[in-house]
Amino acid sequence: MSSTLADISGRKKETIDKAVIRFCGDSGDGMQITGSQFTNTVALYGNDLATLPDFPAEIRAPAGTLPGVSGFQVHFSSSDVYTPGDSVDALIAMNPAALKMNLPDLKTNGILIVNLDSFKETDLRKAQIVQNPLEDHSLDGYRLFAVELTKLTRASLKELGLDAKSMDRCKNFFALGMCYWLYNRSMQPTLRWLEDKFKNKPQLVEANKLAMQAGYSYCEATEAFQISYEIPPAKLQPGVYRNISGNAALALGFVAASQQAGITLFLGSYPITPASDILHELSMYKDFGVTTFQAEDEIAAVTSAIGAAYAGALGITSTSGPGMALKTEALGLAVMVELPLVICDIQRGGPSTGLPTKTEQADLLQALFGRNSEAPIPVLAPATPGDCFWIALEASRIAIKYMVPVIILSDGYLANGSEPWKVPTVEDLPAIPVHFETNPEGFQPYKRDPETLARPWAIPGTPGLEHRVGGIEKQDVTGNVNYEPLNHEHMVRTRAEKVEGIAQDIPDAVAEGDPSGDVLIVAWGSTHGPITAAMKAQRAKGHRIGHVHLRYLNPLPKNLGDLLKRYKKVLVPEMNMGQLVMLLRAKFLVDAQSYGKIQGKPFKQSEIEAKIEELLD
């Protein structure tokens, strides 16, 4: 649906419902900043949105080459947005390599802005392009705008006396200015950001400001662009919003959890993509007494957090798949000594180093079973970037209440992707009661709470509670070293029972869409967006589709088995070879169908829809 108005100059301003725009260029071209600035601006305007940053693992692959291409996609709309968009309405390509890598996603007749100055013979060769696409009519199906971005940016900055390299660094802001004109957005939020970010470098503020304004004026002045677009604000729930990424939301959630619990937050972490931002974020919150420890390795990261938990802190550690593998033994220790601990695994493509900057969901079975012997650990998964905040609180609550380590499975897409997030008030947050044992009368380190089966949290420094814990099997109640066969079986079963019992303390699974019918989609984690969009589209076509999105993967909600029986077919889309589906089939004897995608990229709505239609046939 769109309406078109002509402005005074005779050019048209068309009101549309949504747009997907992608900035792409060399990893040194500042595409991530450009994309996040555009995102921030449309968010502040009140659009709903979803983003997909896509960048290479190499910090600076050789300039202009295919492996060096970095991109940032934003989907913004006046109605609900669930995904960053299957295909792109407007593509801004800063060089031929970016064009080559990204053109397949541009819609027919889509807007294509390229930097004409970067299509020289050498540029084409670096991108392994033989024929200049600007000259061979291969781009005829698009609305092509070949703009001398480099030359125009330099011209706009000539008064500042900068060298050529510094001037060229501003061309992304020229492109950003163009997009602001194209989508009728104010430059104010970005100007404010520039002034704040570079407050000690006024020349940098001035240069980027001039370049952005020049890009905006260029569109206004030239007749090339005959149309601009207006996307009205979305009708989101009333409230205060901010744009947030998954990693920032996790960090915020842990600060909130420690405040709610009234105990120190301790993060032990070793830098790893795509989890490092959690360490960066939390290291800023010293005013909340947060202690961050950049450890010497992944093992020290988790074991220091275990030490902190032993001493009475909310101990957490953040990592990705390869780091999870290294932490495995320590997780077994945390299970054995029954201390609260939260482990964030921000999944990425694997195995081994795999695809460090790309997303995947293939650590589920590792999180559930990847330890020696019987070592059950509750596993939670956030569904959206904003949900990461709530998952951090919930994981902390469970860890403290049940004296268990808890794993959070996020992924690269949630970590770096962002969405408008309705900011809660402190009153909206759950209580997290903490009880440190202080009474020596009858104290036993493994005497359990009859309801939760949690052992007491008896921290060093408490008079009369001196006791020993460790990784060796221990006698029930006393915690003394014990190798007796029946005691071991009792302890193994008790640890499992404790985790299973958490099912009584978590909400039932809810089927969105139809409560019974043709197809139930069961999924977890970052696939929430495209599945929701696909489910809605299929229901609009008259099919009876349900969608259960699991935030709790261990233990599973106690009504899940029941829900599975209400639909003719069960579809389980996952960014892996079929891990949850294996679990569901084993646990519920249900003929669930797997749909795996392992490309380092999120599902598209269209892919899920095609699969649903295939099942409906």
């Binding site: 939020p189 009333p238 744009n243 202690t291 093992i299 033994e329 220790l333 060093p460």
Partner: protein, 342 residues
């Protein structure tokens, strides 16, 4: 008038009811006894003591100490202990470890804990063998050693634990011997008094898998010939009749006989606060040299290096002094926000 006084402790207050499972004759018994005696005198409330260990015979230590104790996993005790110290700098945290636990699987944590100067006391029981796994060579076993896993002898050059600690910028490095009870207790007291990380190598006999590994040092007759006691401010003298000494010769050490014009005044006077690492290295390496004695005592004690946990706590206090204590409601609404009205 009443004054709050610490309970008067005896060794018994630090013993547990757990059956001790070290082999009869193991050097660990002597170490346990010395630690229990010293703890009783330190004037620290019992609940403030925490003993952390990794894996190995030495790492069973916490089970026999009536303090807070945590028997963790192989090699990771320094990292667990660092987490504890960062959260609770007021606790008196000790680490029991061995040559395999500290120098092999836990080598990385050992060096990083030392360079950070975390306020931990590390007791490294060095018996030059893997005991709990029944007799494989360790990173301190001498080259060529025949063991279960090296029937034709090792090709591994050993670590000198003292050198490793000094090379890791440790601020307190000392060595004692399981059966030298008085010396051991004195060394433990000094370690306890040190502000930062204290690394104490305790030469310990494994009478089952490596009996007599330290015989040269521990035999009554050989002792005085093969050991030099390092005492701050005193010359390095050894020998049955205290007739030998260590003297500087250029940038090296030499063993000299006292007499014939050589007096104590010519000898090297030990300075545990010597500002150059090279000094402690020279001492540490004497044991590998023909005719030189093995040094025991405190090789280095630098007290002017801030503790890691204090720096971290100070950073938090500084930020809070500048920004005020964090306000969660404000934090939730930080950054660019916008309001949608109903």
């Amino acid at each position: 008038m009443t004054t709050a006084t610490l309970p008067v402790y005896t060794k018994k207050d630090f013993q547990t009811d757990q059956e001790i499972r070290w082999c009869p004759g193991c050097g660990d018994y002597a170490i346990l006894s010395a630690v229990q005696m010293v703890f009783a005198e330190l004037g620290v409330p019992r609940e403030k003591f925490v003993f952390i260990s990794g894996i190995g015979c030495s790492s069973r230590f916490p089970y026999y100490m009536n303090t807070f104790g945590f028997h963790t996993i192989h090699g990771r005790a320094p990292a667990v202990a660092t987490g504890i110290k960062l959260v609770r700098p007021d606790l008196d945290v000790w680490v029991a470890t061995g040559d395999g636990d500290s120098l092999s699987i836990g080598g990385n944590h050992t060096i990083h804990m030392l360079r950070r100067n975390v306020g931990l006391k590390v007791l490294m029981f060095n018996n030059k063998i893997y005991g709990l796994t029944k007799g494989q060579f360790s990173p301190t076993s001498e080259i060529g050693k025949k063991t279960k896993s090296t029937p034709y002898g090792t090709a591994d050059r050993p670590f000198n634990p003292i050198s490793l600690a000094i090379g890791s910028e440790a601020t307190f490095v000392a060595r004692s011997v399981d059966i030298f009870q008085q010396h051991l207790k004195e060394t433990l007291r000094k370690a306890a008094a040190h502000q930062g990380a204290a690394y104490v190598e305790i030469l310990q006999n494994c009478n089952i898998f490596n009996d007599g590994a330290w015989q040269d040092i521990t035999e009554k007759d050989a002792r005085s010939e093969h050991v030099v006691h390092l005492e701050h401010g005193k010359p390095l003298i050894f020998g049955k009749k205290r007739e030998k000494g260590i003297r500087m010769n250029g940038f090296d050490l030499e063993v000299v006989e006292l007499g014939n014009g050589i007096t104590e005044n010519d000898l090297l006077v030990h300075d545990e606060q010597h500002p150059r690492a090279a000094y402690a290295f020279l001492l540490a390496h004497m044991e590998h040299r023909e005719g030189f004695p093995t040094p025991i005592g405190v090789l280095r004690a630098w007290n002017n290096v801030p503790r890691y946990e204090d720096l971290i706590a100070q950073q938090i206090r500084d930020v809070q002094a500048k920004k005020g204590k964090g306000d969660l409601a404000k934090l939730l609404r930080a950054g660019d926000t916008w309001e949608l009205k109903a």
